[in-house]
Homo-oligomer: 521 residues x 2
């Protein structure tokens, strides 16, 4: 192990790098233990005298905008992922960067997707040095194989805001895809053929980047309202034919799970929340857009309807299931971080009680509080959980880095955190002795709900007491683990890992909670 | 003249202080000539671990909130003026500061009003060292009499944002009165008995102050939406019985002028804009809430109705006259900086096309452009205009500092700036050889409209050409001045001024455009 890979033991019991890509980082110290010092990043002061009085900031191409933004070797370029697997813009940006002969750029997306596979050639050719941000699918696979020049850094949505705000990551040029924009740079996601709902993931980029470029296929006359991104932060506006594939940006309909096991898990999770006394007038919840989470939302809606219970707010990822709850009056508000389907977009556009949020309001741990800790109940996924309730969401048990953190870490601060999980996937048990990559500490995870039993974190004596007379199948994690191993014929095989560190996993406060190693292919 | 009062000649031809209250400032260099260097202010980084997980930041009193905010001698406390002459909060704050035995505070309001007269005792006793912000009426009179310990600094709405953003003014504690708020600190002005529409003047305060305190008489359950002020910037929330007098915050009805002269001036101004080709489909305009401006708006509405012309946007100060134009379809949007009457509040609350704005979006000169320069025509007032079209809005011809700058300087960047003015007030001519205090440079002022003639700035050869065949009474400023002096029996008397400098007037870029001297009483 060379100097570059010097490891330090952190409070999660993991050996982690603290020098990453030549920069110093802190090891994880425990929940709430790292108190930041110092001041926020301070972007350069501008002057209106250097911007057109007309407000028209249009330039003819992405390449021209990058040139005018002073693009140089080694700079950091950011993008957002509201266009998800339909995004055309990041590929266009790095093709332009390559054409300009620029090398060693840091790509700082809020997440990358399989559609960005063409960017692998720019990683190979040295145009991009490394990616900091979620690498879903092929790019994660590329990193896991040890081919990326630098070390990837994964952050939660809130951690990304924190890193930008705190000056840990300085963005030289932010490129913001916008389904609707005016020539001044005001932009939103609620209109246009590539409508994606909101642009919250790009908020920090607009606020803190030296230069901000809006790329749109839908120029509207000033003022483009709502200005989810404010033109006063924008340097250049570029019109292109298309910023993305609408069908891959939002789905026409979000798909509910059909698996009887998953449906059972969702039902058990709802029943648990009910018996725990969480589902009551004025409560709040967050569940994702995955199949089991959607089932949870539907079952929860039924319970609320039967018992005439109204939520004060639901945190999205919004889907047609959430928007129909809002329209039916089952909640006062949706506080939404991203819209997953067309109803989500429509509702955000037309219903003032469907409020767009940002990682700043919802998740930034280095703010004066955030929304995440106010949620009464949060339902999340995981790839693995260990006996101390520590969980993994970024790697598979074979060690491959195939998922981002998303808002997962941030949501762990909810009052009750439930992980509804199948006991095994493809005959690989989910409950393990030690998670491959620790993404969230067990002290923040309260309940594991599986198709064969529910385990309550022993720290939550209040929940254990409340559920003491319950008919629900309450078990220990050890019991559930043993049962899964019996069915699957043992614990998962150990991943084949090499010494080389290919990525670091940040905690919400910017400390390093774990690292990811190269996988033997 | 002592060291403290060392004067430097600036580009407006005025002798100004550059050391003010012990701090260094730059002299005015000309429009667009001062290019800022350096970086924006960088507030301290916080951690959610030091804020309640419940999100409930309520403390029992303003005094307690000030103590917890670490109030010390010499700090800067800011307030906003959306409650105008109905505000109870600033008086409560400085009573609490006095009770805590604190001295030498800088009060940094976005504006102060006659209702703040009780604060004079805190200026006299040394609790407050000086006021930086508009001093309307008695506080301006107090300053003019030379009794304020420090030198006042007046800034435009945009200049105030600029000064905070650029770190020229560091706010230790921001106190934000909120007609509606939740216990997390999300706040707005659209609901509650003290509803004032929006809270944009307090935006910079929330973003950049070390500590932010929300004071409200209307706590709503989280989330208080819209969050015009975001709770993520807020440290403490205080509930009080009443934050202000609703009748003095917004008027039930805004009053139109009944003066035949003023009506004539307004009509001439509209006719001028029409003949200049400014009033056409998709145009934009801004007019204030004063009597003549309202008349301008009404006459303009008539012209638009007759000619089937629709504006793209109107900038408010909104009144029932603007909201009815929006509702009638005479404009797509109102972009509003403050609401002046109940219809303005209602419309902002209920109509998504009535958009609240802030000094950041509209006026900040140290941004990447702002809205002010995009206005096709702007109608503004003035206390005096000189033969070079330089204008004064802060002092009277007797030298007394009785008005704030408001958005006036910022609006001068509109494409055509019209000042509809009576030729004289109380038999004192308005057109003078040299304005008492230069608040805006003549190169940005295009047209002076009086009841006895219209003067076009010779720089606007385009307007002169367009109006060449007009039947409008086009005159020179010299002719208008001579006529007024003939009627009034001569030019205004020179103000009786002393050497002592009592205030500095900032230009939109933070430079000093003029100073104000003590008046002999």
């Amino acid at each position: 192990m060379d100097e570059k890979n010097k490891l330090v033991s952190n409070a999660a019991g993991r050996e982690v790098l603290i020098e990453i890509n030549g920069e110093e980082h802190s090891p994880y110290k425990g929940v709430g233990k790292h108190i930041p010092e110092g001041n926020k990043a301070a972007p350069k002061i501008n002057s209106c005298s250097q911007f057109p009085d007309s407000g028209d900031k249009r330039v003819e191409s992405i390449k021209e905008a990058l040139k005018r933004s002073g693009l140089r070797d080694g700079m950091t370029i950011s993008t957002h992922h509201h266009l998800r697997n339909g995004d055309y813009v990041a590929n266009m940006v790095f093709d332009a960067v390559a054409e300009l002969g620029i090398k060693n750029v840091r790509w700082f997306p809020s997440a990358s997707f399989p559609i960005h596979t063409p960017i692998i050639k720019h990683l190979e050719s040295g145009v991009i040095h490394h990616i900091e941000g979620s690498m879903n699918g092929p790019l994660g696979d590329f990193a896991s194989s040890g081919k990326m020049k630098g070390i990837g850094i994964l952050r939660s949505h809130g951690g990304r805001y924190q890193a930008i705000q705190d000056g840990e990551v300085h963005i030289d040029i932010a490129v913001i895809s916008a389904p609707a924009a005016d020539s001044f740079g005001n932009a939103n996601g609620v209109r246009g053929k590539a409508a994606c709902g909101l642009l919250g993931f790009a908020l920090a980029d607009s606020q803190y980047a030296d230069k901000t470029i809006i790329v749109t296929d839908n120029i509207e006359p000033f003022p483009c309202i709502p200005w989810q991104i404010q033109g006063n932060y924008v340097d250049h506006v570029v019109e292109v034919d298309s910023i993305g594939d609408p069908e891959k940006i939002v789905s026409g309909t979000t798909k509910l799970t059909k698996s009887p096991d998953r449906l059972l898990i969702a039902e058990l999770a709802v029943q648990f929340a009910l018996e725990a006394g969480i589902i009551k007038d004025g409560f709040s919840f967050q569940a994702g857009a995955g199949g089991t989470s959607l089932a949870f939302t539907i079952f929860l809606g039924n319970i609320m309807r039967e018992n005439k219970i109204k939520a004060r707010f639901i945190r999205g990822g919004s889907t047609t299931y959430l928007t129909s709850m809002l329209e039916e009056g089952l909640t006062d508000y949706i506080l939404d971080g991203q819209t997953f389907d067309l109803d989500g977009v429509r509702s955000m556009r037309d219903n003032p009680n469907h409020q767009n949020t940002s990682p700043f309001t919802s998740y930034n741990y280095h703010g004066k509080g955030n929304f995440a800790s106010m949620l009464d109940v949060v339902v999340l996924g995981a790839t693995e959980v260990d006996l101390n309730f520590n969980a993994n969401v970024v790697t598979h048990s074979d060690g491959k880095l195939l998922h981002g953190i998303g808002g997962w870490q941030n949501c762990l601060f909810g009052k009750t955190v439930i992980l509804p999980l199948p006991l095994f996937r493809n005959r690989i048990p989910v409950i393990v002795d030690k998670v491959t990559t620790i993404t969230g500490p067990g002290e923040l995870i309260d309940v594991i709900v599986t198709e064969r039993g529910i385990a309550i974190n022993p720290r939550r004596t209040d929940l254990i007491k409340k559920l003491s007379g319950s008919k629900l199948p309450l078990r220990t994690l050890e019991e559930l683990k043993a049962e899964a191993e019996k069915i699957c014929g043992g614990a998962p095989e150990k991943p084949q890992l090499m010494d080389n560190v290919i990525a670091a996993i940040k905690w919400v406060d910017g400390t390093v909670i774990d690292i990811v190693r190269q996988v033997k292919y």
